[in-house]
């Protein structure tokens, strides 16, 4: 019996030695599970021996075996502790999203037809936490897949966000760097699985120029179990006020914190309420001290205000947004630049709104329709559009999209841009 016992204990000790030789390197979960299984078998074997010993009333050997069993359990727990211990990698976060679009649009003027396949966006984000209160966040984006050195290159590499954020307390944080302006619905949250439609809505393209990123500082404060206010000071827009074709076009005024003119800053304030599950009600104001970044030219200050709602209750959803810019334009200087009175008028007040009801009767399929009205400065940016379509989520983070759109230009000069057609999309986030 003693021989059997010694052999058993030696084998157990050898197994422990063999199974735990690499304390310097943390074993993988699979390795650890294998080790635990092996050691559980040994514990079972030792327990059997213990029972036999008890049967043989060999009291001194019981103690030895019990201590061995206890030692093995401690070893297993130590290994699990090691596996579950915090790692330096816990401070790092990575992720991304992207979308592939196919557009097939038939315009009244065939020169404006679109039959195109495009990797519209490929975005990677990277973050690092120095402490629980201080963190770094960044997003790097490639648009339209291909970038070369010549002017015809369709793509672009862009920093979409890069900022440091510090939590002053649990309700209040401050950030500095380049961030997404706190405006509208899509500007901050636009991962493809989170919205309907292959293309983003046009109001949050022409009027709120998403993705609208700005450099500056922002304070966020949460209060009243559902309210959030954001105050920010940041670079202003640099909108063209000289070229008749593009004059007063908001989207063209984004500086993207790329050697951005900073002599005339802008201020944004947003208030939103999301104190009811599935409901967000919000509004924002942005004041541009000089929307062209040039004194005594045709364009001076500008003021944007917007209100929006996002409601998702049960299988039903509803989104709506209204946005309006009012710009101070010097008519005489604008006319002197060759800009028409009609374009000045359109530039002074630029508005857009949309409504988007949706229904998601199945976990993986949802249907929507959207109507939008856009009144921008350029002739081609005055239209209304109706669309309908569906999203299919094979996984919550992956989406296939289909939609059919009808666009009706408001100006007779642009009727050749009226179109209808369909879009297909593939999007993901992780």
């Amino acid at each position: 019996m003693k021989f059997v016992q010694k052999t058993c204990l030696s084998a157990a000790a050898a197994l422990l030695v063999c199974s735990l030789p690499t304390q310097a390197a943390t074993p993988s979960n699979e390795e650890l599970y294998r080790i635990i299984q092996q050691q559980n078998q040994r514990i079972g074997s030792l327990e059997n021996e213990l029972r036999k010993e008890r049967g043989a009333a060999a009291a001194p050997n019981q103690q030895v075996l019990e201590s061995k069993v206890k030692a093995q359990q401690e070893q297993i727990n130590a290994l699990a502790d090691r596996q579950e211990a915090p790692s330096k990698l816990d401070k790092v976060s990575i992720g991304g999203y992207g979308e592939l679009h196919y557009n097939n649009l038939d315009a009244d003027d065939r020169d404006n037809d679109l039959d195109q396949l495009d990797i519209h966006r490929f975005v990677l984000f990277f973050g690092y936490d120095w402490t629980e209160n201080l963190r770094f966040y960044s997003e790097l984006e490639i648009e339209h897949a291909f970038i070369s050195g010549d002017d015809d290159s369709p793509g672009a590499v862009e920093l979409e966000q890069v900022y440091l954020q510090y939590d002053l307390n649990r309700s209040t944080s401050i950030l500095g760097g380049q961030f997404l302006a706190p405006l509208g619905i899509l500007n901050e949250t636009h991962e493809p699985p989170t919205f309907y439609g292959v293309e983003r809505n046009d109001v949050e393209n022409v009027i709120i120029p998403s993705t609208y990123r700005v450099g500056g500082a922002q304070l966020t404060h949460r209060f009243g179990q559902g309210f959030q206010v954001d105050l920010s000071v940041h670079e202003g827009l640099k909108i063209d006020a000289e070229n008749p074709g593009d004059a007063f076009r908001i989207r063209g005024g984004r500086q993207s914190t790329a050697k951005a003119a900073a002599n005339d800053p802008a201020y944004s304030v947003r208030l939103k309420y999301s104190g009811i599950p599935g409901v967000e009600l919000g509004g924002a104001v942005q004041y541009e001290t000089d929307a062209s970044q040039a004194n005594n030219d045709a364009l001076e200050n500008g003021l944007l205000w917007e209100v929006h709602s996002v409601i998702n209750r049960g299988i039903f959803g509803f989104r709506a947004l209204y946005a309006e810019w009012n710009f101070d334009i010097n008519d005489d200087r604008a006319l002197a630049n060759g800009i028409s009175a009609a374009q000045i008028s359109r530039g002074e007040k630029q508005t857009g709104w949309y409504v988007e009801p949706s229904i998601k009767p199945f976990e993986k399929v949802g249907f929507y329709t959207r109507y939008e009205d856009v009144e921008g400065a350029r002739e081609s940016d005055v239209f209304d559009q109706w669309e309908l379509g569906l999203n299919f989520w094979p996984h919550p983070d992956v989406v296939l999209k289909f939609d059919y759109r009808f666009r009706d230009q408001s100006l007779a000069s642009q009727s050749g841009r009226d179109f209808d057609g369909f879009d297909l999309g593939l999007g993901y986030q992780f």
Binding site: S93, I174, P277, G278, G314, P396
Partner: protein, 182 residues
């Protein structure tokens, strides 16, 4: 005062507000420490913690619910008179957050977000959201049997909450069977 000087003054004022805001804004949100949450679930006198190993079939079921291998090989729990308490962590978008779950009769009877580290989706901390989980159980397919309305802009945190609820219910079922067998 010239317009540009007024603007610069406004800018400086706003920057001062931003940088000095720690005193201007009170911290309205309080967290409950995990130990206090556990104690509260047992009228101030919690039982000793026990451990369930997430290995074998249970580990695989947990992985199915989470969509990834469990972060921990073991989960601690507190059990008395059919009531169990679990402190779980799961990543929303970027950071793990910590949630306490109280289970009884295979239903969630209470939940609280104990630590939240994400920069968005903070609404999941509030009772108006967590109340939706009360009374939720697990279907045969290991999914919640109650509808949980999401939060705009916090989809990933809401989904992480659902996963944690399903895991807590799964583990509660496991230990309930184990203790019943003993």
């Amino acid at each position: 005062m010239p317009e540009t000087a007024q603007l610069r003054l406004a800018l400086i004022t706003l920057l001062a507000l931003l940088t000095g805001a720690s005193g201007a804004f009170a911290d309205e949100e309080t967290y409950l420490m995990p130990a206090a949450f556990v104690a509260g679930a047992f009228a101030g006198s919690p039982p000793d913690p026990q451990v369930v190993w997430l290995v074998g079939d249970l580990g695989e079921q947990a992985a199915d619910i989470l969509g990834h291998a469990p972060n921990n090989l073991r989960e601690r729990y507190w059990l008395r008179n059919g009531r169990s308490v679990w402190i779980l962590e799961e990543v929303g978008k970027e950071h793990p957050f910590t949630v306490g779950w109280v289970i009884e009769d295979q239903k969630v009877i209470d939940t609280k977000v104990l630590v939240y580290r994400e920069t968005r989706g903070w609404e999941v901390r509030y009772p108006f959201f967590t109340r939706q989980f009360e009374g939720a159980g697990l279907t045969a397919e290991k999914q919640l049997d109650s509808r949980i309305d999401g939060i705009s802009g916090a989809t990933l945190s809401v989904r992480a909450m659902r996963r944690m609820a399903e895991l807590a219910l799964l583990l509660n079922g496991q230990i309930s069977r184990k203790h019943a067998a003993n």
